[in-house]
């Protein structure tokens, strides 16, 4: 297997982008990534595109070919493949690109993610997202996505010491970071009161516990590490790529408050990279809901089960804390265009490792991690990246 490096990144501004179409979004992100790698399009061998549900959001399938075409690559006939795993589609697309290069099958590969979510009514987007859970045995009986994560929160708060205020602090911290990220959907700081006074969605989760509906795209370019210096002075090495699955329904999980797929993918990634949680300088975790970040930092090993509320309230996950979590603003403040999120996480870690993260820069960042979840934890992708 060959060592793999990220040689270019690009990300659109995230938000409700009424003026931009699906095609506009991925072309913008792809062009940014190519410019970043100082690469011309005809050098690309293959592309993997994470996308959850263009079929329901814009009634368009066959995304792989569409993207290659509008990226101006139709005459090059590159291999272009769509990857779908609900909200983990981007993380899996990145992993497929890494595998393609590591195996020696391809040299220059694009991993992209895109979602255009605001071309349907809010009710329809919520319903589409419910397809990331079990439609027949969760969605059918009235479960919503916030509802499923709310049941994790109820179970967690029944068993472990987590206050409503500590849970709100996850969103407060992520908005603080988002306010320092020029691509974030929400660049305003909030207070605990903002969260506690927001609309109730599914008890105990309120509107500000939930990630928003977002349009956006992100792209990264990977290449063999030995060739990376041809394109960039600051290649970022992929130290580990791991993926795990679990039951599609929340109710079938071994433990409602533990994402076993996160535990498995995290352990595999640490083992592959011969590292532990102590070596990670910052992590982008999948905070689709505030409780999801609480579970994630425990399940990845950054703190013990049941202690993430205090850990967060003590500022250990904030910039300057023991392990800065979601410096991008996370899904909560940066936004969550589902198929693009896993790629955006990689972009954020690469920016941090290059020292290009501006006001949210983690001093001396050498190693970072991404954690991307599909559904309520049925798919998880974890990557560890480091300075080459």
């Amino acid at each position: 297997m060959r060592d793999v490096a990220v040689i270019g990144i690009g990300c659109t501004r995230f938000g409700e982008k009424w003026e931009s179409s699906f095609r506009d979004l991925f072309v913008e992100a792809g062009a940014l990534a190519l410019a970043d790698a100082q690469l011309s399009g005809e050098k690309i061998d293959a592309m993997y595109v994470g996308n959850m549900s263009a079929g329901r959001f814009i009634e368009q399938e066959h995304i792989g070919a569409l993207i290659a075409d509008y990226a101006g690559l139709s005459t090059h006939h590159i291999a272009s493949t769509r990857v779908e795993a609900a909200c983990a589609s981007g993380g899996l697309a990145f992993r497929q690109a890494v595998i393609a290069v590591a195996s020696g099958m391809e040299d220059i590969v694009v991993a992209a993610g895109v979602e255009k979510m605001t071309d349907v009514e809010p009710g329809a987007s919520t319903d589409t997202l419910t397809g990331a859970a079990d439609r027949e045995w969760e969605g059918f009986v009235g479960a919503t996505f916030p509802g499923l994560y709310a049941m994790i929160a109820t179970d967690y708060m029944h068993r472990y010491p987590l206050t409503r205020e500590q849970l709100a602090q996850v969103a407060v911290k992520n908005h603080y970071n988002g306010a320092r990220n020029p691509i974030a959907q929400y660049q305003q700081e909030i207070t605990i009161d903002t969260v506690l006074k927001s609309t109730m969605v599914a008890e105990p989760l309120r509107l500000f516990d939930c990630s928003p509906i977002t349009d956006g795209a992100a792209a990264v370019i990977v290449a063999p590490l030995e060739r990376a210096k041809e394109f960039t002075d600051t290649p970022i090495r992929v130290l580990a790529s791991a993926q795990a699955s679990d039951t599609i329904t929340l109710h079938d999980r071994r433990d409602i408050s533990t994402l076993d797929a996160t535990v498995a993918a995290g352990q595999r990634a640490f083992k592959k990279a011969k590292l532990s949680h102590k070596d990670i300088d910052m992590v982008e975790v999948h905070d689709c809901f505030s409780i999801a970040e609480i579970c994630a930092i425990e399940d990845l090993g950054f703190c013990r089960k049941g202690t993430a509320g205090k850990f967060t309230a003590d500022g250990e996950t904030a910039l300057g804390g023991k392990i800065p979590v979601n410096t991008s603003g996370g899904l909560k403040a940066c936004g969550h265009p589902v198929g693009a999120t896993g790629i955006k996480q990689v972009c954020e870690i690469v920016q941090q490792l290059r020292g290009e993260a501006g006001k949210r820069q983690v001093d001396g960042a050498k190693i970072g991690m991404t954690h991307n979840v599909g559904g309520t934890g049925a798919t998880v992708a974890v990557h560890i990246l480091g300075r080459a």
């Binding site: 027949e136 059918f140 009235g142 109730m200 409602i256």
Partner: protein, 130 residues
Amino acid sequence: MTVARFWRKIPQRYNLIGTRCERCGRHFFPPRTFCPDCRRAGKIVNHKFAGTGTVVTYTVIHTANEQFEAYTPYVLAIIRLDEGPRMTAQIICSPKDVKIGMRVKSTFRRIATDGDSGIIHYGTKFIPAE
């Protein structure tokens, strides 16, 4: 939802017909046709669940998907059936009465409708058993 898609799940949705592996005795609801423990050596047969169980966790849904908007706020829970498997279902009770560990029993109810002229989805909800 087409009629066929709904119709083929009527036994499970109306009467809690799941499955059981005769080799290891493990029960499955929703039904599985492949035992994760015994794998190909397993022998799967139908099993009618008693419909009694305990609340594992719950939420009260205030913002619902389109089909359920008329019912908010409603209680949604994960219930451990006495035979072992867990399922997600609504509990018909006041949001302030639901508790972890509460005993519940199944009841046949309307779940949702496909618009004004679509099929009516019936299925299983739960009510407090004490």
